[in-house]
Each structure stands twice: as C-alpha cells, then as structure tokens.
C-alpha cells in the first residue's frame, strides 16, 4: 500500500541509462531493436495466441506498445479486458521491457499504479523471452498469483481466505479503458 517505496519495482533498468549516455552506439542499437520488435510483431500477427494481443503505439519508433490481455476463464478476471503498456529499452532484448497495467487491477502482485512483480521482468529476464511470452506469463499470473511476494498484501490475504470477496474487489476496481 505504500507506493513511495516501490520505485525500484520494474523501473527502467540501468542499462537504459547507460545506453542513453552512450550516443555513439545508439543508432545501430535502435535499428536492431526495431528489427527485433518488428519481427516479434509479425510473429504475433501471424500466429496470434488467444486472449493476448499487442501492438505498437502510434509514436512511430516501435519502442512503446500497448497490449491487451483477456482475463482467463475460471479466474476472478474472467471476461475482463486488461490493458498494459510496454516500454522497450534501447538494448532490448538484453534488458527487459518495462511493463505496466494501464487498466486498474486488483491483484496480489500488482500495485495500485499498475506495477507488476514478476521475476522474468526483473532478474530472471532472458533474451529468449519476448512480448508474447511475457503476456502469456502475465495471463497465467492472473490465475495463479505468487502470494509469497505480494505487492498488494490485502489482495494476497483475500485470495487465500475469501475468493468471493476477492472477486468483488476485482470487479470494483476494474474499469474498461475504452469507455473513457
């Protein structure tokens, strides 16, 4: 509940800072990042997985995306549409993207500003992961929260104690971004 101390969560990795300080290599970096992201996009488009989808934002450099996850069935999130933002660092895929929930969500591993606690987005990141695998992991996280390291302690407690109450909280917190 204390947001101020969560700044390190999922924040931009150091690598991004260093690459900004190093403009000489930036251009080729950006090019290879763009290429990789384009390939990922193509892959997402050609073999879409059900329930997840992602697309670059209109800023034209492909470095920020918006993704959509449909809540998996038989979870409190069933039927909900959840939006996320992806921000890719210049040295992607060697550093993980910054992923945030844009849709307000009530989840043990997501805080109220949408920051996510997921190991593969932090120290367990590897270059073989991609947008689609991150989204799939997040989709499964919705059904099986990692209550050992909660960002939202109340949610973690409710998940274990009272599923009905949990679902009520989820629905109360949820609002569709499209309806804005």
């Amino acid at each position: 509940m204390d947001y101020s101390m969560e700044d390190t969560q999922n924040s931009a990795p150091d690598a991004q800072q260093s690459s900004k300080l190093n403009p000489s290599g930036q251009k080729s970096d950006t090019q290879s990042v763009t290429k990789r992201l384009q390939a990922e996009l193509m892959q997402l488009m050609l073999s879409p997985s059900p329930g997840i989808s992602a697309f670059p934002d209109a800023d034209g450099n492909l470095l920020s995306w918006t993704a959509t996850i449909t809540g998996p069935t038989e979870t409190p999130y069933e039927g909900l549409t959840l939006k996320l933002s992806f921000a890719f660092p210049n040295n992607y895929p060697y550093s993980p993207p910054t992923v945030l929930f844009k849709t307000p969500i009530y989840h043990p591993n997501v805080d109220f500003s949408g920051r996510i606690c997921l190991d593969i987005l932090k120290d367990k990141w590897s270059a073989v992961y991609n947008v689609s695998s991150v989204l799939l992991s997040l989709q499964s996280l919705l059904g099986e929260p990692n209550n050992a390291s909660p960002l939202n302690a109340q949610a973690a407690e409710l998940w274990d104690s009272d599923q009905a109450e949990f679902k009520r909280h989820v629905l109360a917190r949820h609002q569709d971004l499209d309806d804005e």
Binding site: Q38, P48, A54, F55, G60, W65, A67, K83, D178
Partner: protein, 916 residues
C-alpha cells in the same frame, strides 16, 4: 563630299585613317575654342528656350553678338559693313526641307548650286572676307554658327521629325543621314571653299570644328536619340549579320535558298563550323582570316560609309557606340546559336573555331566601326588603340560563356543523344572549368530541365533510366570528381525510388541478353544495355575498398569546394553501382532478382548459362551472401537435371514400363525456402499424370530421405501431341492448357463437346482459367466455340478449298486474310482470358495478403482503441515490414466488408472499432 571613305582600309587592322579634315587637323587650340563656345550652346540646349533662341538669332544684329560694339568709330563702321557683306554672302536661303530630301541621293553639287552655295564671292566680297579673316575671324564664325542653327531649325527640323515619325521604313536612318550630310555641305561648303583658304593653316581646323559643333548640336537637338537608337540598331544589325557571316549560317538551315544561292556564291567565305571542321588545320585559319566573299565586302563598305556619314552629321560618338555595343552583344549570341546549335560531334573544336571567329571576324568589325564612331573629336590617331588585345581576349571568354549557355540549354537533348553528342559535353566542360558560377548554373538549369522533361508520369521508367545512365556517363566526362553528377542525380534518384517498376526494369535489364544490346536504345522496353555494362570488367568496383584515409594515395585531392556536405566521392562512373544503390538495401533488389530468375529458371531450356554468368558477375559486386538464395535456385536447377536422370534410371530398373499414351515426366526440384512464392491456380491433373507423379515421388524419396515432393502443377510445360481425324498437332503448351485439352480426349468418332462449368467441375479449375485455355485451343484451331461457353473439338480441319467455297465471294487473299484474322482474334481472346485468369489469381493472392494485414488491424484496434482510416493506414505503413501496398480506398472497401461481416463497427466520427 568633304570626306573620302577608305574602302579597303578594312583589310588592314589599322583603321585610323580619317575622314573629316576637321578632325584630322585637330588642333590643341580647339579645346579652348570649345569652351568659349559653351555659353550659347548651353542656353540653346535647354529645351524651353529654343523658340526664343530662334527669334533672337533672327533679330539680333551681328555686332551685338560679336561682343565688341562699344564704339561706333569709322573703323568700326567699316568693320560693320564688311561684316554685313560677309553675312549676306554666307547666309543660307530659306529653301525647304523638301528640296533637300529630293536631292538626298546625289553627290551634292546639284544641291549646292540649288542653294546658291557654289557661286564664288564677288571680288568685293572676297576682299571683305579677306579683311575680316585677317582682323576678327572669330566673330564671323560665331555668327555663322548661330545662323546655321537658326536656319536648320527653321528649314529642316520639321521635315526631319516628320521623316522620323514615318515608322518602319527601310533604311530610314540612311535617308536621314544622307539629308543631313547634304545640309552639312550646304552649310560648310562656302566656308571650306572661300573662307578657310584665307586663314593660316594652323587655325583652319579650329574654325571648322567650331562650325561643325554648331551643326552637330542642332542635329542632335532636332533628332531625339531615343528615336534614333532603335533605327541605328536596326541598320547595324542588318549589315553586321552579313559581315559576321550569321546570315549564311541561317541559310544552311534553309535548303531552298541554299540550292538557289549556293552555286553562285561558291561558298568561298563561310564561318560555318561544319565547313570549317572539314578543313585541315592550316586551311582553317586561312578560311576565317582571308576567305571573305564579295557580299561581305560590299556590306562592310556600305556599313562603314553609313557610319562615316553618321559620325559626320554628329550622330556618332558615345551614344552610337553604346548602340553598337548592344548590337554586337546580340550578334555574338546569335552567331553562337546559329553556328553551334546541334553541333555535338566529338572531338569538339567548337571553342577553337569560336575563338578564331572572334579574333578575326568579330574583332575586325569592331575595330573598323570604332575607328569611325569615336567619341573623342581629337582621337583619330588613336583609332587603332580603341580595341586592345585584352578586349579581344575578354570577348573570347564571353564567347565561351555564351557557348556554355547554349550547351546548357541543349544539355537535355545532348544527354538523350549520348554518346553521339560527346563533343557538346567537351564544350561544356571547357565552360564549367572557366568559372565557378558556371557549375551552379549548369546544375540548376539542367535540374529544372529534367523536372520538366523527364521526371513526370509521361516518361516510362526505361526512358528515365536510360537518360540517367547517359547522365552518369556524360557527367563523368564533364566533371570527373562527380560533384555535378551528385547534384543532378539526387532528384532523379529520389524520383526513381518512387517508381514501382524501377527495380523490375533494372533487374530485367541485367538479365537481358547482352547480344541484343548492340543498339543501346533499340529495344524499347528493356535496358539490355545494362547486361552489356555488367559484362565489362568491373575493375572499378574491385578497387573500391580504398578508404578516405589512404595515406599511400599519391593522387589524393580534397573534395571540390562546391561539394555538398554529405558528398561522397563516387569512385567511378559505374552505372550498375549507381542504379543498384538507388535502393536503401540490396534486399529489394535481390528479391526482385529472385522473382525474375525464378520465372526464367522454370522455363524449359537447354541450359541456363546466361543466368549463371549474370549471377557470377553480380556476386563480384554484391558479395556471395547477398545472392545466396539465387545461388541456391541455380543449384536446384542443375541438381534437378542430374536427379531427373537418376530417377529415370531407377524407374527403368524397377521395372516400370512406359505405357502407351502416357508421356514422360521430367521434374525440377526446387528448395521451397529459397524460391519466391509462386502464384498459381490449383487444378486436378489427369490421372495418368498423377500416377506418373506419384511414381516419380517414390523414386525421389527413396533417393533423398526425409524429403517430400510437392507438385506445383501450374508451373511447367507440356508437349502435347493431338491426333485428330485428318491431321495431327504438336506443340508445347502450359500444364493447364494441356489438362483442359486432355479432358476433350475421347475414343468415339463423335467430336467431344464440353461446357465450361462441366470442365471447371471436372478439373477443379477456376472457370476463368478454363475459358482461357479453351480460347487458346480455339486459336490453335483445335476447338470451336459452338455456342457461348460450349466448345467442341474440330476433328476435321476445313481445307482451304472448302473455305474457298464457303467464302465464294472474294478472292483468295481475302479468305486467308479473314482466316488469319479469325485465328488472330481467337489468340487475342485467349490471351485476354489468360490475363483475366492471372488477374483473378493475383486478386486471390492479394486477399490472402490482406488477411495478414487484417491481423495487424485487429491487433491495432484491440490495443490502441478505435481509429480512423487514415490512422490505420499510417500505422500499417509503420508496423508492417515492407510497407502496406494497398491504397486508402482498397482498405476502406476491405474494412467495409469486415463491418458488414460484423467483425468491426464504426463508432463516433468514422472510427473503426473492433467488436468483441
């Protein structure tokens, strides 16, 4: 006449010889004389005082002007009387201008008589004059000068201005000058004949000059220069054209006059570059210096005589020089245009010819003319100095600049005519080397030219590329450093990039048969020249790897000053490199190369040597890796041949016998990943063929483990042999055409009849394709269309006799014509149908592609929310690799379809929204 015109003075370069005795014997004193005379002239020249001046001069007594009238002493009286007598002798009768005009063509003696100017003074008067001359000549001359003015204004002015107002008359100025010369004689004759001999020689010039000045002022006053100068310009032009030889050049372009005049003129004198070029170097100089003919001499004499008159009557001087300079300026431009336009042969000697012409013809005229119309009244001795050698050099530079200008304006045509026009580029090179502004001028003007004449939708890509290639070559000669080319090429390259078929044209050009490339532009639709270019030893590109910092390069020079900041020195005039580098990456190029290569490779041919050669040559340029796919494709083909042989052998060994009625099957095995996607129409091949294919596949799979054959039925050729009742037919056709005709096979004697829907069903082929195949066979006279979409085999070919009977009317040729026409029509129809079928399959492929884009659109709308059409298109262009090939309209139609299918909805303001 007071002056003699030195007719032949022109042959020598010194022309200072002279005309008026006044100017000849000009005396230093004349300057002070001139100053003394200033006052009356000044008052006279202010326009509003002119009328009063007239009145004054008539009424003023002689003595008051004289200025020494204080006392009426007896001596004074004598003097006055003497003056009166002299005045009577000198005064000019007030005869009108008409008289003068009528006598304008005579030598003047008649006029002088008419005006009573020839009669010698009586003895008394002579004495009086002598007396006056001795005592106070100045006063007499001063009075006479004023009287000249008065008389001129009263008698001649109105006539002259009337003459001036009659416009457009030929030689108007000559008439005027003639009249004025007569007038001058009228005024000066008595003075010259009777007064001057009375004075001592050193003073004569001064007095005469004074009178002349009086005359000149009044003439200049009466004839406004504004009106005179265009007339003068016309006169000068008229003769200068002849003298400079420009008129003969114009005649060259006029064949009628040439044949008329050519014989009598004998063309002894010509400044024509063409004639000059044919001569030997020694004869060339001679030709220009000495070779003038009578016409020119006459014209020159005429002009010089006229100018002489002009100068005498006071219309020469500074102002005339200005007009002359103007005319000569125009003349130079005219000459260069007339002489050198379209003379583009190499090696070019145009600059030499031009320089010789300027030195010997142009400068000579200038010297002659300036010797006559000089501004300095005392400057006759310096006549030769008016034109210095430096001036001539300056004119030569100017001439070269004009030539350059001409060449720049012609440059586009020069480029189009390349390489027959390399001489013009040599000229231009000389021009651009001379000045730095010239380079900018060339590029600016040529760029504009290009935009207007080349870079528009009306020009085909082949044309543009052709011109671009010529530009590369021409500018390489013009400017080996490539700065100009760099500047010129930018807009062309940008434009070419926007053209969709540029890659295709280039690649097909590369693959064209170099043997046909002899006439560079002979083939209209391919750039076969490129193939020839490719086979040249690409030694340039081999040594390209030199970096900027090659310290051993002893010939290094810095980039030219006018190079653009991102200018990169192009190492050579390598056309292929320039064309290929049009595209950001080699990928576009290689992809097109693959497509074209694929088309060529699946054709049935004996060998593919040419393709192999081209590929090897390209590999030298691009490196092996870029063309790997093409390499694999070629390898597939050569492997297939070997494999085909092996499989065939295996089939024999394993006991399959060739069945009657079933042909041989050859296959080409292609590695799918390395070949471009083929668009094809699916259909069912005949069972017999199918069996053959299966057998082939088994044999193949036995040879190559874990490989599987997928048959591409639509690609390939079939040799068809048809046995009809009274003839046989053999030809090579496409597989689907063969399949369709195979369906007509029957053993019964009745000709088989089928309809298109039947066939389409039977063969699982699209109706359009079936129809196209049927029409093809109609054109081969195997089938006939008995009614719409129903075809029957034409078992018995109608003999010519029968046809002849059928077309009883009309002769044989008509019949065969109409027959040929029928077949041709059918063939055309077949082609059209095939095109339609191809289009259908292309459309299907496009739809297929659109489905991929649909995924993108779904992803976009899901994640980014509802979007307008424009935004969707923009995003697709960014996000889809290789860009989005459809137009807004096509996408709108597609999205409309999706809306009607219920997958999309249109929400506020035409935004598309995905329906969950």
């Amino acid at each position: 006449m007071l002056s003699t015109v030195p007719l032949n003075v022109g042959r020598r370069r010194v022309c200072g010889s002279v005309f008026s005795p006044a100017s000849l014997e000009a005396h230093p004193k004349s300057i002070s004389d001139f100053q003394r005379e200033q006052t009356p002239v000044a008052s006279f020249q202010s326009s509003d005082s002119s009328s009063t001046f007239k009145a004054d001069s008539q009424s003023t007594s002689f003595a008051t002007i004289g200025g020494s009238t204080d006392a009426a002493s007896p001596e004074e009286d004598t003097l006055n009387q003497a003056r009166q007598a002299a005045k009577e002798f000198l005064s000019v009768p007030n005869l009108g201008f008409e008289l003068l005009y009528n006598f304008r063509n005579t030598d003047g003696s008649q006029v002088l008589k008419e005006w009573n100017r020839f009669s010698p003074p009586s003895k008394e008067t002579a004495e009086v004059l002598e007396y006056l001359m001795r005592t106070s000549p100045w006063t007499l001359f001063e009075w006479y000068g004023n009287d000249i003015r008065r008389h001129f204004l009263v008698n001649f002015r109105t006539g002259l201005s009337k003459l001036l107002k009659s416009p457009g008359e030929e030689g108007l100025l000559r008439t005027i000058v003639d009249c004025l010369q007569l007038a001058r004689q009228i005024y000066l004759a008595p003075v010259v004949h009777y007064l001057l001999p009375l004075i001592t020689t050193p003073h004569q010039g001064g007095f005469l000059a004074q009178l002349q000045r009086a005359f000149h002022t009044v003439v200049q006053y009466s004839l406004p220069w504004k009106k005179i100068s265009p007339l003068l310009a016309r006169e000068l032009t008229q003769d200068a054209v002849v003298i400079l030889g420009i008129d003969t050049l114009d005649e060259d372009s006029d064949p009628d006059r040439m044949s008329l005049d050519g014989t009598e003129m004998e063309r002894a004198y010509s400044v024509s570059y063409k004639d000059w070029k044919q001569e030997s170097p020694e004869a060339r100089a001679h030709m220009i210096v000495d070779g003038e003919d009578g016409r020119v001499t006459i014209a020159r004499d005429r002009l010089l005589a006229f100018l002489n008159g002009l100068q005498l009557v006071g219309l020469g001087g500074d102002q005339a020089q200005k007009v002359f300079a103007n005319v000569m300026n125009i003349m130079m431009g005219d000459f260069i245009r007339a002489a050198y336009a379209g003379e583009w042969e190499s090696p070019s000697t145009v600059p030499q010819h031009l320089e010789q012409w300027i030195e010997n013809v142009y400068a000579r005229l200038v010297v002659h003319v300036l010797a006559i119309i000089h501004s300095d009244p005392a400057g006759t001795q310096s006549g030769a100095m008016e034109v210095s050698l430096r001036d001539v050099e300056k004119w030569q530079v100017m001439g070269i600049a004009r030539l350059g200008k001409l060449r720049v304006s012609e440059l586009f045509d020069v480029i189009v005519d390349w390489p027959a026009s390399s001489g013009a580029v040599e000229d231009l090179r000389r021009f651009t080397n001379n000045s730095s502004g010239a380079r900018l001028y060339v590029t600016n003007l040529f760029s504009i030219n290009l935009l207007q004449r080349l870079l528009h939708p009306g020009a085909s890509t082949v044309e543009i590329l052709q011109v671009y290639i010529s530009i590369i070559r021409a500018f390489h000669i013009l400017d080996p450093k490539g700065v100009l080319l760099d500047r010129i090429a930018r807009p062309i390259r940008r434009y070419l990039r926007d053209r969709e078929d540029t890659v295709k044209v280039i690649v097909s050009g590369l693959l064209a048969d170099p043997a046909t490339a002899d006439g560079p532009t002979a083939t209209g639709d391919t750039l076969a020249e490129l193939a020839a270019e490719l086979t040249k030893v690409p030694h340039h590109s081999m040594q390209n790897n030199r970096s900027e910092l090659d310290y051993d390069d002893m010939y290094w020079v810095p980039d030219p000053v006018d190079a653009a900041p991102d200018y990169k020195k192009s190492k050579s005039a390598d056309v292929i490199d320039s064309l290929v580098s049009l595209f950001d990456s080699k990928e576009t190029f290689v992809k097109e190369m693959q497509t074209l290569l694929a088309d060529r490779l699946i054709q049935k041919r004996q060998n593919y040597d040419q393709e192999i050669t081209v590929l090897e040559l390209l590999k030298v340029r691009f490196g092996d890796s870029a063309l790997q796919a093409c390499e694999v494709m070629l390898k597939d083909i050569s492997d297939s041949r070997r494999l085909d042989l092996t499989v065939r052998n295996d089939q024999m060994l394993s006991g399959y016998r060739k069945q009657a009625g079933v042909g041989k099957l050859h296959a080409k095995v292609l590695s799918r990943f390395f070949w471009p996607e083929f668009q094809e129409q699916e259909f069912k091949v005949p069972d017999e063929i199918n069996k053959l294919q299966e057998r082939y596949a088994t044999c193949f799979e036995r040879r190559k483990d874990s490989r599987k054959l997928m048959w591409r039925n639509a690609l390939g050729q079939v040799t068809v042999e048809l046995e009809l009742q009274n003839y046989t037919f053999k030809d090579e056709v496409t597989t689907w055409q063969a399949t369709v005709i195979y369906a007509f096979q029957s053993d019964s004697s009745e000709p088989a009849t089928k309809t298109i829907p039947e066939l389409a069903d039977e063969l699982e082929m699209s109706p359009a394709l079936v129809r196209s195949a049927c029409l093809f066979w109609v054109s081969k006279r195997i089938l006939t269309e008995v009614q719409r979409d129903t075809f029957r085999v034409l078992e018995i070919l109608p003999t010519e006799d029968e046809e002849h009977h059928a077309h009883a009317a009309g002769d044989f040729s008509d019949v065969s014509d109409s027959e040929a026409g029928d077949t041709a029509n059918a063939a055309a129809a077949a082609e059209a149908a095939a095109a339609a079928a191809a289009k259908e399959s292309a459309e299907a492929a496009a739809m297929e592609k659109m489905n991929v884009y649909w995924q993108f659109i779904v992803g976009m709308l899901t994640n980014q929310g509802p979007m307008a059409l424009n935004r969707i298109v923009m995003m697709l262009k960014i996000a889809v690799p290789g860009g989005f090939p459809f137009s807004n309209e096509e996408l709108r139609e597609f999205l409309g379809g999706m809306v009607s299918k219920g997958k999309l909805e249109i929400v506020n303001g035409g935004n598309y929204k995905i329906v969950h």
